[in-house]
């Protein structure tokens, strides 16, 4: 968490296997460029995401967290992302309320064919997090 000119944010991205992860793959195969700051964690569905994952990532020092799933209506498990949508909305609001910068925790829908959208999303998130600086608030130093 050095606050130097060369600081690069560390972003954890939880991607659902069927849409967003495939979208990320497509971005790679298509040689679309985005910052090297993202660590991707593949989950079967966005519904697998427990808000505790997001907060744990922040506690462990992630500067930003992204959760991405299929577009509503396209979930491989029919309604996983619809159930998750409610949890995500609440999580985002609660974290912003207590004072975590909204740019740090973001949610999106990216489909398997949207390689370009995925790269654009990554660059967007990286820029947002660069703007708000290194995470300090929930971080626990060991």
């Amino acid at each position: 968490m050095e606050n130097t000119e060369n600081w690069e944010p560390k972003i954890v991205a939880f991607l659902c296997n069927w849409c967003s992860y495939a979208g990320a793959d497509l971005a790679g195969v298509s040689r679309l460029q985005y910052g090297p700051n993202v660590r991707i964690i593949r989950v079967p569905c966005s519904a697998r995401i427990n808000p505790q994952f997001v907060i744990k990532a922040l506690q462990n020092g992630a500067d930003g967290v992204l959760v991405s799933g299929c577009h509503p209506g396209d979930c491989h498990y029919i309604s996983g992302n619809l159930v998750a949508r409610r949890k995500f909305a609440l999580t985002k609001k609660l974290l912003e309320y207590i004072g975590i910068e909204p740019e740090r925790v973001q949610f999106s829908w990216v489909s398997a064919s949207e390689g370009g959208r995925f790269a654009a999303l990554m660059n967007r998130v990286i820029d947002d997090v660069k703007r708000v600086g290194p995470a300090k608030k929930l971080v626990k130093e060991l």
Binding site: P51, Q52, I55, K56, Q59, L66, P72, S79, L82, V83, R85, R86, K87, F88, A89, L90, T91, K92, K93, L94, L95, E96, Y97, I98, G99, I100, E101, Q106, F107, S108, W109, R117, A120, L121, N123, R124, V125, K137, L138, V139, K140
Partner: protein
């Protein structure tokens, strides 16, 4: 009815329920050993003599629904073969207690048929912290409540002071929209206080503050936390057999009072209350350090209400908001890289 009459009526009903063998345990309130407090009173089948201890006043703040879940352990999934049937429990309940019972019934932690709810129209409870604040460091040795809504307290120097109930009412009660219990088996006669408006205005005002100010407040409050878990234990809807905070393999949060752990404990605890918190203030009252938990609990209630049009009220049939979804749920929180 004045509070003495309410107390007598509760005693009468409890007595009848025992006589007609309708219950095995009655949970109400009795005088406490310290001023400005009434404490939960348990009466078993062979303890008729204790029925006359039952009282009702503005210090019956505990949410008695917190005691119910332990009687129905092994519900709903691991219904062990039991030698004896589940006990039948009579409880005197306010509006908030009733809604907690409803939430527990929905989650199948309490069997509705085994609970006899004695509903009491609530006139609002007094916050002993507010009274102490008004008196400063002087010690309060006794109190006397009058039926015209005033509280007279005596301090060690012999001085008495009188307060109007509105000045010292619990903030939860001022905002409460459901002071009149519904769906109870008995409902005492009388009027409940005027319902409040839910108090969302306070949250809206807080939301308008700058981000860093909100963080500073949250940090200041959570720095007081000693991780005693009183908030979790007092809450009627915190019933998990193993709390996420106690997991050791793998660990979500540490057990010490590092501020990051204290903050995350509260964030997640409040998040787990989404759609279930009835704002009874049991957590706030139990906290030995006086942390303002209300600004968090009320936020989750407001968000669930605004996003999903759901409030944990008296309706046993409604589906909890996080157990379902709607195709009309908004995507406003989503980041769309193609838009601004």
């Amino acid at each position: 009815m004045d509070s003495k009459a309410v107390g007598n009526e509760i005693q009468k009903i409890a007595g009848e329920l025992f006589r007609d063998d309708k219950i095995d345990v009655f949970i109400g309130f009795e005088r406490a050993t310290v001023p400005l407090k009434s404490r939960p009173c348990f009466i078993g089948k062979d303890e008729d003599g204790r029925i006359e201890n039952l009282v009702w006043d503005s210090f019956c703040t505990n949410n008695l629904a917190a005691f119910l879940q332990k009687y129905f352990e092994n519900e709903p999934n691991r219904r062990k073969k039991r030698e004896k049937p589940y006990p039948r429990i009579g409880v005197s309940v306010k509006g908030c207690d009733t809604r907690s019972v409803v939430a527990l019934v929905k989650e199948r932690q309490v069997i509705r048929e085994n609970v006899v709810l004695v509903g009491i129209p609530c006139q609002g409870m007094i916050d002993r912290r507010k009274v102490q604040e008004k008196v400063g460091t002087a010690e309060i040795v006794s109190h006397r409540e009058t039926d015209d809504g005033t509280l007279e307290i005596t301090t060690t120097d012999g001085k008495t002071r009188t307060f109007k109930k509105e000045e010292i009412m619990q903030s939860a009660c001022i905002d409460c929209r459901y002071p009149m219990p519904e769906g109870t088996d008995f409902l005492l006669e009388g009027e409940a206080k005027e319902p409040g408006d839910g108090g969302y205005g306070q949250i809206e005002a807080f939301e308008k503050k700058p981000l860093e100010e909100r963080w500073a407040y949250f940090e200041k409050e959570m720095s007081k936390c000693i991780r005693c878990n009183a908030c979790r234990q007092a809450c009627p809807t915190c019933w998990c057999k193993e709390c996420f905070a106690d997991h050791t393999d793998l660990k979500w949060i540490g057990v010490g009072n590092h501020i990051s752990d204290a903050m995350i404990f509260q964030i997640i605890r409040v998040f787990h209350q989404a759609g279930r918190c009835v704002e009874c203030d049991a957590c706030y009252n139990a906290c030995p350090m006086g942390i303002d938990l209300r600004f968090l609990t009320k936020k989750i209630v407001k968000d669930v209400d605004e996003l999903f049009q759901y409030v944990p009220d008296f309706d046993v049939e409604s589906t909890p908001p996080l157990a379902t979804f709607s195709e009309q749920d908004k995507d406003t929180f989503i980041t769309d890289p193609e838009k601004g």
